[in-house]
């Protein structure tokens, strides 16, 4: 079915956005770019260290809720709710 295919494509796009952000905050800011980011400060935290031990986790929580809300909208749009 054509509408099911475009539902799936939109879903894949959302997943892609989530995983890009997921990767950037943890592997990007927390690991690969940690040294340059540590030049900056967030209170007593070095910024790279903060992303590795705090910031990435907060972002993960926000991501999962954002994805869930977007998917609920998508389900309605394509009329595939349970």
């Amino acid at each position: 079915m054509e509408s099911n295919n475009s539902y799936w494509r939109e879903n894949l796009r959302l997943i892609f956005i989530c995983l890009v952000i997921w990767f950037v905050v943890s592997f990007g800011f927390g690991l690969i770019l940690v040294e340059p980011l540590n030049e900056f400060r967030l209170g007593g935290y070095k910024l790279g260290f903060w992303f590795a031990q705090q910031g990435s986790i907060y972002t993960f929580v926000a991501l999962v809720f954002w994805y869930s809300a977007q998917m609920n909208k998508l389900d309605k749009k394509y009329d595939v709710e349970e």
């Binding site: 690991l31 209170g43 007593g44 705090q54 929580v61 809720f65 994805y67």
Partner: protein
């Protein structure tokens, strides 16, 4: 009986009474109750239960201690064990729920139209889960022997009895409601001492903010800067930048833990208990909130424990603690052998430095940090008692989830699915209870006589889940054409290479002396430690599966239609057997 012991008895046995009450109230009467709690758990409840299921004795007792000594390197556990939930929520949970069956191997068998695939999945699941349980049982034994001063074996026996009562009686339904209570106990037990300590050290009651604040001693120095200074003065690596084995190793380690988290069957299974696909998505979010509560406090607990420990032993630079004047907690932990002092220069004072030749703290076991933390910070006795109950809640809740994963894979996947398909619902329910009882006995035995390889096995559990189960599930959903043959080839080669790598560096079945390349870092593949190899195993799994699929042809038409149906939430219904 002293006050501390009295409080500890009240906290521990009071919490047990609550678990029993819940178990009686939530007895299971059908296989649907037993495997998926009748499919009637709300996302919020499921989120809490996942939190307790997921946060084991390792998260509660060991993680903050690891962070305390690894510093920035400990970030791999923080990111790895939370980031996996983003993968679960977006890549697996909604579709697994849509499929609507009881177990993970059952999904694999339907999707890859193969009993062989189901058996391979059952084997992976049992190995991963059993290795995990050993750790939980050890945690129960240690908590009992340290806090109630009962024999390790007796403590273990009491723990086994408690799990038996509510897991065998209530199945998934009993386990879920008990886990909700256990989550509450463990999160209070974890955060209350942290709040006290953060308040003492920085004047800020919120540990996540306290860690980034200045010290309350009026010096205006940031806590983390002070910690960096104290540890580097003694020759240790700087706390906030100490990267465990280099960036590539940390990268692979984090990735393995994330993929492994998303592939652990006892967690995935919990998503079958909610009534809809929508609820599966949101329960992943709630689960992560509840997990993040502990995981964002843990770095504060670790750093503050390290600072308190250093300050106790060396209150001011160059001024050392006199051994005869050591505090009570120091003596208590010396008795357990987890803390050892040797007066090398004979001055009667404690020198704790990085240099092994002059260091007099022969042993500071990482696992004692969380348990000793309240005592180090001079917190009231009821807080220490709470920590004991919390550690037990963390160990018991995880053990129960793992036991259910094992018993359902045997009674539902092996017996009902492969060996004796005509099993009636009633006999299946009885069989799963018997299997669970046997699993408790086996894990209790292993907890009492931990095999020599116990320490290395948690890494193996994650490596297995990451290199076998996660790729098979993900390809099953995102690649319509992926065939059964290809998936089995992928799973076997993924596990194979991961086990080979772990064994070649840590010994075959972890027996010392049988490793053919040695545990030496210079032999590691691009410097990747054996614990971090699951990510490489997963890449091998994906690659082999795609190559085999290209060479041997796509999955049949009806399977491709099944996958298309998986991707659409419409028409999911409650999880069912057939």
């Amino acid at each position: 009986m002293d006050e501390l012991k009295l409080y500890t008895y009240i906290a521990v046995f009071g919490s047990f009474a609550v678990y029993f009450g819940i178990a009686w109230w939530a007895r299971a009467s059908s296989t649907s109750d037993f495997y998926v709690a009748g499919g009637g758990i709300t996302p919020l409840q499921n989120g809490m239960a996942i939190g307790a299921d997921w946060m084991s004795a390792a998260s509660f007792i060991s993680m903050a201690g690891l962070i305390a000594f690894l510093g920035y390197g400990g970030s791999v556990f923080l990111m790895g064990w939370t980031g996996g939930y983003v993968l679960l929520a977006t890549l697996l949970a909604p579709y697994m729920r849509k499929h609507g069956k009881f177990t993970v191997p059952e999904f694999i068998s339907d999707r890859y139209y193969s009993k062989t695939a189901r058996i391979v999945a059952v084997v992976c699941l049992i190995i991963a889960s059993l290795t995990y349980i050993i750790g939980q049982m050890k945690g129960v034994g240690v908590a009992f022997s340290r806090f109630l001063e009962v024999d390790y074996g007796l403590g273990l026996g009491i723990g086994m009895m408690v799990v038996w009562v509510y897991a065998v009686l209530g199945g998934m339904k009993g386990i879920t409601y008990t886990q909700i209570a256990q989550y509450c106990v463990l999160i209070f037990a974890y955060t209350i001492p942290a709040v006290f300590i953060s308040l003492q050290l920085t004047g800020n009651p919120i540990p996540q903010l306290g860690l980034g604040s200045t010290l309350a001693d009026g010096s205006g120095v940031y806590l983390l800067d002070k910690l960096d200074l104290v540890v580097t003065d003694l020759g240790f690596k700087e706390y906030t930048t100490d990267n465990m084995g280099g960036t590539l190793n940390m990268f692979a380690y984090t990735m393995s833990l994330m993929i492994g988290t998303a592939g652990l069957p006892h967690v995935i299974m919990r998503f079958f208990t909610v009534p809809s696909v929508k609820a599966a998505r949101s329960s992943a979010g709630y689960a992560l909130v509840f997990i993040a509560l502990l995981y964002t406090v843990a770095p504060a607990v670790g750093a503050m424990a390290r600072l308190n420990l250093m300050n106790t032993i060396e209150p001011q630079a160059g001024q050392h603690m006199v051994y005869e004047e050591r505090p009570q907690w120091f003596k208590d932990w010396e008795n357990t052998g987890l803390l050892k002092f040797e007066d090398k220069n004979g001055d009667g004072k404690v020198q704790y430095v990085a240099d092994a030749a002059t260091n007099e703290m022969d042993k500071v076991d990482r696992d004692i940090m969380v348990l000793a933390n309240p005592a180090i910070a001079n917190l009231p006795n009821w807080v220490i008692a709470l920590v004991a109950a919390g550690g037990l809640a963390a160990a018991l809740s995880t053990a129960a989830g793992l036991l259910l994963a094992i018993s359902s894979s045997i009674s539902h996947d092996l017996m009902k699915g492969v060996l004796t398909p005509n099993l009636s619902e009633k006999s299946e329910l009885r069989a799963s209870r018997i299997v669970m009882t046997i699993s408790i006995l086996i894990s209790g035995y292993l907890g009492l006589n931990p095999p020599g390889f116990a320490a290395g096995t948690v890494a193996l559990a994650f490596g297995l889940a990451a290199s076998s189960i996660f790729p098979a599930l993900m390809m099953g959903i995102f690649s319509k054409k992926m065939s059964g043959k290809a998936a089995i080839a992928g799973m076997c080669s993924g596990i194979g290479i991961t086990m080979l790598y772990v064994f070649q560096h840590k010994g075959i079945m972890f027996i010392p002396g049988t490793s053919f390349l040695g545990g030496l870092e210079e032999n590691w593949f691009f410097g990747i430690s054996p614990n971090a190899f699951g990510a490489v195993g997963a890449i091998v799994n994906f690659t082999v599966a795609f190559v085999v699929c290209k060479a041997t042809g796509d999955a049949p038409e009806h399977i491709q239609r099944l996958v298309e149906n998986l991707r659409i939430p419409k028409g999911s219904g409650v999880a069912h057997a057939h």
